[in-house]
């Protein structure tokens, strides 16, 4: 009886394949949320970028002036280029510094491994603001590093160039986003079958060769995931360059924030935001073309 019923059910299921299976309706609450709080605000932002801001607020006149200003005034393009450059440099730097750490973690064993991984997590449980701010008392004229150097007699006077320049921003970005780079790479390496490495070694490969030919390619999903994440975060970062960058390391996030918080030019801010989002989505699309978007975001787990 049961078997016949099951067969009937299965047969009828196959007979009429549905475009919309009822189980799919489970996505509806989330879908409503995404539309209301995700899509609608973005559309509103896009519209706002085509309006005009005056000192009396926003006038809903449709015009392209904001975009014209952005593309003709070299200030914005210059800052955009600088932002991309800083984001790229920070990503590369972060990758170079994080990969060996991830490798180290993945090759640890047992209880020690969990403890070591936990130790990497811990600093990220201080607030993001503190993780950025902390470099001021660390690198300032009266800061810790200078005081140690003076005490050791290495220098006669405090070193100025630790703080308030582009280099400090790199340092700050690498520091605050280290977990985002280390974790995916670690997860990727962790899933690596150690037998593959053993096999390579037994076949006579030198450690360097094993690394380049076996380990590195297999950790690529994690590397890509981490790099994408850090690059995206760095493109939009706002607090870190403001605190650490001094007079020159202005990034796009700062300009956007100032339109909304200081200059009261929401329309221009909206246009700048649209451009940043388009740029970032563009980079993602290019990365996705080569490596597959799903792999990019979910690759670290597979």
């Amino acid at each position: 009886m049961t078997a016949i019923t099951a067969a009937n059910i299965n047969a009828s299921r196959e007979a009429r394949p549905r475009r919309l299976e009822p189980g799919a309706l489970m996505i509806v609450p989330a879908l409503l949320w995404l539309v209301l709080f995700g899509v609608v605000p973005m559309i509103l932002l896009g519209c706002m970028s085509l309006w005009r801001s005056t000192i009396f607020g926003i006038e809903m006149e449709w015009n392209l002036d904001n975009y014209r200003t952005i593309f003709s005034d070299d200030v914005y393009m210059r800052v955009l280029a600088q932002t991309l450059r800083i984001a790229l440099a920070s990503t590369v730097l972060s990758l170079i510094l994080s990969y060996p750490l991830a490798y180290f973690l993945a090759s640890a064993k047992g209880r020690k491994k969990t403890a070591l991984v936990l130790l990497v997590f811990l600093p990220f449980w201080t607030s993001y603001v503190i993780r950025s701010y902390v470099w001021l008392p660390m690198l300032g004229r009266q800061g810790l590093v200078n005081q140690v150097l003076l005490w050791l007699g290495v220098v006669d006077a405090p070193i100025d160039w630790f703080l308030f320049n582009e280099g400090t921003v790199y340092l700050g970005l690498v520091y605050v986003y280290m977990l985002f780079m280390t974790l995916p790479i670690y997860l990727s390496l962790d899933r690596l079958d150690p037998k593959l490495v053993e096999a390579a070694n037994d076949l006579g490969a030198r450690p360097a060769q094993t690394f380049v030919r076996v380990v590195l390619p297999l950790s690529m999903p994690g590397v890509l995931s981490g790099c994408t994440m850090v690059f995206l975060l760095a493109c939009g970062v706002y607090v870190t360059p403001q605190l650490l960058g001094g007079p020159s390391a202005v990034m796009f996030g700062n300009i956007i924030a100032s339109q909304f918080l200081t200059s009261n030019n929401w329309a221009l801010g909206a246009a700048l935001s649209v451009i940043l989002v388009v740029l970032v989505l563009g980079c993602l699309y290019l990365a996705g073309l080569r490596w597959g978007l799903q792999r990019l975001f979910m690759g670290a787990g597979h």
Binding site: I55, V75, Q82, R141, Q142, P247, V250, T262, N264, N265
Partner: protein, 368 residues
């Protein structure tokens, strides 16, 4: 990491519920307490609520004052102008010159603020004559009343820069090369360009033409190499000067007051081109929820209790005569009231009609 993930299931649902319940109960209590008394939401320069001023004000109006963090006049006006901005706060105070045009709206009937019932502000009679022109009205309806005034100047560290130095008498201290690497600027277009304009000899910087603005912008760009950093909040400025990171900075009053309170050896540079003076006025946004209490607050700030303690606690100076009534002549001079009598050069921070150009020039300076 698999062990970590499975391990987390050990936190049972019951524990989480207990935690939620307990925390929820504790969280309710302050909210209940706040809901009983009235309270008003204000956006004002936070220094004017320093102890004991907050207590005096709250006692006078019989309500608590919840103040949001004040960043700058431009930020405050920006919030008022934004969609939904007229209902966020019950009372706001910001620089008169900058705020008066936007808050009045583009025409009659388009004001963003409520007309003030002067019958409820008897202390208006105590307003100093100097500030009568700063009462902003349109067609017999008053919209903005001056409360306090202040000035921006350069604050410098006397341990590093001797008082006898020539540069302590001019805005040039934060521009010239002598103290390169020890200077901080304030991240605002209006003030910085005004100061630079004054230093470069412009008689009326607020009327600078596009060409003159470019000249000022280029000058600032050429001097940017002397700047250690450009700060965005008063507290950052205080921190920079206190830690010795910079030796001089464009500073609003609260910075000097905070530094002096901590015993730092700082002084104000009385720039001969004129320190940048401004008055600030109070106004009530159109859709404020508690306009009556806001009105009472405005009245209380002009009364003797509050006004006489204002300068000592915050550094700002009261527009009400009640502010100096109890002070001796020397005390008044020391606190800065001498500016009003011409003892010190000052230039009013007037609002330029082409402010958006100023903002652009400053953006160019920052990104150079």
């Amino acid at each position: 990491m698999n062990s970590g993930r499975d391990g987390i299931t050990a936190l049972s649902r019951r524990n989480l519920l207990q935690l939620a319940g307990g925390a929820g109960f504790v969280a309710m209590t302050p909210r209940l307490a706040r809901a009983q008394a009235g309270n008003i939401d204000v956006l004002v320069p936070n220094a004017i609520l320093n102890a004991p001023l907050r207590g005096i004000l709250e006692k006078a109006i019989g309500a608590k004052v919840a103040d949001a963090p004040f960043q700058s006049t431009t930020d405050s006006v920006s919030r008022l102008m934004s969609p939904g901005g007229t209902s966020r706060y019950d009372m706001m105070i910001s620089q008169t010159e900058f705020s008066k045009t936007p808050i009045l709206g583009s025409g009659e009937g388009k004001e963003k603020v409520l007309p003030l019932d002067l019958a409820k502000i008897p202390n208006l009679a105590k307003l100093s004559e100097t500030f009568r022109p700063d009462v902003i009205a349109r067609n017999d309806k008053t919209y903005m009343i001056p409360i306090f005034w202040g000035f921006d100047a350069v604050v410098y560290n006397k341990d590093v820069i001797p008082e006898t130095d020539e540069l302590t008498k001019t805005w040039g201290m934060i521009f010239e090369d002598k103290y390169a690497g020890k200077i901080a600027w304030f991240d605002t277009a209006h003030q910085m360009l005004m100061a630079a304009g004054l230093y470069l000899g412009k008689k009326k910087p607020e009327t600078m033409t596009t060409a003159e603005l470019k000249e000022v912008g280029d000058f600032l760009i050429s001097k940017k190499k002397n700047v250690r950093t450009i700060y965005t909040s008063f507290a950052q400025c205080t921190s920079l000067l206190a830690s010795g990171e910079v030796a001089c900075a464009y500073s609003p009053i609260p910075v000097r007051v905070d530094l002096e309170k901590s015993g730092k050896n700082v002084a104000t540079a009385w720039c001969k081109e004129g320190v940048l003076s401004f008055s600030t006025g109070a106004y009530i946004p159109k859709d404020a929820k508690k306009p009556a209490i806001a009105l009472a607050a405005i009245d209380a700030m002009l009364a003797e209790d509050y006004a006489s303690k204002l300068t000592a606690a915050s550094g700002y100076l009261s527009c009400s005569t009640a502010g100096t009534a109890a002070l001796s002549k020397e005390e008044a001079l020391r606190l800065g009231y001498g500016i009003l009598e011409g003892a010190t050069a000052h230039y009013p921070l007037r609002f330029p009609p082409n402010i958006s150009q100023w903002v652009e020039v400053w953006a160019r300076v920052k990104s150079a």
